[in-house]
Symmetry: C2
Subunit: 259 residues, 2 copies
């Protein structure tokens, strides 16, 4: 393997750019992934690994993980500790990094009677990652992500612990349009709101499937999305808490959706 | 109000110390709180506010919140923007800070047929705060916190959005000892584990109350705590996800506990 020791190397600059910029990830259709387990999981899951970087220490310490990555990726480099420091987002880097292709979600269609969580403008990467993790663990059929949901943010990828690379991920450029289509196909579509006027999540029957929409941490769902959903839905609350954390709300909704 | 302009002022140094050090919070029985809404909520909830600091800008911008704080606290200061910068933990400080007394939880006893979540070594402040927020919203009777659960960490306070200052908070110096006592009082005590061998959370009847224990993000509950609980409990999982985020798991358990 060729060794890269300069922080100014074009490939390193490109990797750092993908790590830091959501718009560059969208422009190039690639994302940056860090961590021995995450990178090896990605390669194993069928994510296309374009390029990988390992420190010398990592080559021995994470030998088995790296073997999996090298089997799927032809372009591998060793990097100096200094270069790894530039790439790493964490305090304790494992020295394993790769660049992957964003999965193509065009043409992915909704399963008949499927159960889905749709996210609109969920901005906190930890929340986004946790929702992907919960949805995989609870057996949700797919996560629909729309504008402002940056699933490939490095923090979101870490919080998802690989789930976002395994779950059925569907991109909706315009959530209201997507919901209208689902309505047209006879699907139950629900807008979750922290309001006692909305119907209790426990009062629905999900045997024919549904899409439950969860909105932004501070502002909830957009008026447009709320207005196109078949109904509103809520998790009844007590006390003076005015809302639940977005990832917590999504998890309880997903749990009930699967019940 | 007296104005403080020096970062080296003893009161400012003390406030910054409480903000950064868990052991100092425990030693002095006081904690540091930031934010107009959080500080005013604390004062209103009956938390003892020892001392408060406001920037000049905050005095006009957050007038109504500050009025509540000043009504309950005799020792108020205005601080310069520079001093506020030293105190603030966030990028966009509101310039409202106070020092509060840790609530005395000695002698707080468990309610007959009460429903409780117990946390053991939950270390991520965002998770801790989210659990308090969920437990208040879902109407849990109290949160039992043991070793390593630093509820008064500024990030945890922020994530709880005031819930940790309102819920019934019970400190257990030694969780296994606490659980044994609860067992002796005839209470159902459950150790949550990510294992398919444990009983499904949906198979329990909680009408006589229960305590559900949730452990550390990476390592789960200690063997000692698991061994003293009446039973293990789990949230059934699918896919390749091996566990749920701790705050998500606690929320689903709390949701079922209240069902």
């Amino acid at each position: 393997m060729e060794t890269i020791t300069a922080r100014t190397n074009e490939k390193i600059k490109y990797a750092a750019l993908l790590a830091s910029s959501s718009s560059k990830r969208a422009e190039y259709g690639e994302f940056f992934l860090e961590g021995a387990r995450l990178c090896s999981d990605a390669a194993q899951t069928g994510i296309s690994v374009v390029r990988a970087f390992f420190t010398k220490d990592a080559l021995t310490k994470y030998e088995s993980y790296i073997a999996v990555i090298r089997e799927k990726c032809d372009e591998c480099y060793t990097v100096s500790a200094d270069v790894a420091g530039k790439l790493s987002d964490t305090g304790s880097s494992q020295g394993v990094f790769c660049i992957c292709k964003v999965r193509d979600t065009e043409g992915v269609s909704l399963k008949r009677n499927g159960r889905y969580i749709a996210l609109e403008n969920v901005q906190d990467p930890s929340n986004l990652g946790a929702v992907c993790r919960s949805c995989e663990a609870l057996g949700i059929d797919g996560v629909i992500v729309s504008g402002g949901c940056d699933v490939y943010n490095p923090k979101a990828l870490r919080a998802a612990m690989g789930s976002s690379l395994r779950i059925n991920l569907i991109t909706a450029d315009n959530l209201p349009v997507f919901i209208k289509k689902a309505n047209g196909a006879g699907m139950l579509t629900l807008a979750s709101v922290p309001s006692s006027d909305a119907r209790d999540i426990r009062s629905f029957d999900f045997k024919d499937g549904a899409i439950i929409c969860v909105g932004n941490e501070g502002n909830g769902l957009t008026e447009e999305t709320k207005s196109v959903c078949s109904s509103t839905v809520t998790i009844p609350m007590e006390g003076r808490a005015e809302s639940l954390n977005a990832s917590v709300a999504a998890a309880i909704l997903a749990w009930e959706l699967k019940r």
